[in-house]
């Protein structure tokens, strides 16, 4: 592996490197992201997130957003309506508040969930 890639991989996860939109710690972001590819947030975000791919919200991230995605991986905090076409995962540290619609919902022990949840095949 070339040294530059090796160094980058030490500092970042594969998701962070592969995501078309990666917004890291310390950033304040406001507005709309609309894309066909993955979005990885590790920042403060307010607005809309729309993608045909994956949205991953890291453990230190805080998002107040309207979300539409194929897959949602929530480790941090998300407030707002979320429509997930396939799978939504609320990890152990996750905090979600809003109306969540997903085909498959996985809530891991320790996750906080407040609002309405609909898990059905055609979300």
């Amino acid at each position: 592996m070339i040294p530059f890639l090796a160094r980058l991989k030490k500092q970042h996860t594969i998701s962070q490197l592969a995501a078309e939109y990666y917004l890291g710690p310390g950033l304040h972001v406001r507005g709309t992201i609309q894309t066909d590819n993955d979005i990885y947030l590790d920042c403060n975000f307010a607005g809309k997130l729309i993608t045909e791919g994956l949205i991953e919200i890291d453990v230190n991230a805080r998002a107040k957003a309207e979300v539409s995605a194929r897959t949602l991986l929530l480790h941090g905090e998300l407030k707002g309506p979320a429509q997930v076409r396939e799978r939504a995962v609320l990890a152990g540290n996750a905090s979600y508040e809003g109306d969540l619609q997903a085909s498959v919902l996985e809530v891991q022990p320790g996750a906080q969930l407040k609002g309405q949840v609909r898990a059905e095949a055609n979300a």
Partner: protein
Amino acid sequence: MFAYFLPRHQHAAKDTALKQVREAAAKGSLSGQLFEFSSQDELAKFVAQATSLQIKSFVAVGSDRDFHSLINTPANVAEIAFGYIPLTPRSHLAAVLELSNLKNALAALRQRRLTTYPVMLLNQKRIVGDVEIEFAADNPPQLELDQSLTVSGPLQRLRLHNSSLEARVTKAIELEGFGHPTAKTTSAPARLELPASRQAQHRPPTRLMHVLADKLEISAQQPFQDSIVEQSSRQLKISIDMAGIHLITPKHSELLEV
């Protein structure tokens, strides 16, 4: 016929290479007129002179900066083919245009294969290849992407890449941001007996963002400079001009060939 534009400051260090350029310009298929300039005003004067002589192929001899000075000088850019003879080691532009050495650059001029290359516009200045912008720690930028997304935070370096020719990327500008994330800086274990702020100065900045945009505005409280044309400004408007410029380069693309 070619017009070669050569800054006088190149003379001392590059005697052998310059001799070859002079020989090439003196006869044969690369013959042309050599204009040696020592200021931007003089370059503009010589460009006007070459244009009046009906010369349509302009060649920058020197550094990436000299090339960009040349492509930002003429008014009738659409009618001109630009070539480049890089004389500086580790030229980013030479890598982009696949001009690995002097022999290769002269061969490209002989073949005269033209490519229309989209350029990045920074406040209307044309740029070929990537651009970097540095910011002081107390002068972080604010970014506005496609008038729909604003980003602020501890960014110290931005790298802008013209991705308009790459199928894998959906927007014309690829932007990476680097800096020291304040939240993690304060919580990181202290390895040196230095205040956290001074430790941050000694660490290389980490990658904080990767986004795509078709248009971008960068603003900051204090002026900042880009790495190519080195214009100083508190606000930069950036976009891609797909009409671009005509380049003489061995780089082959069926999409681009004129």
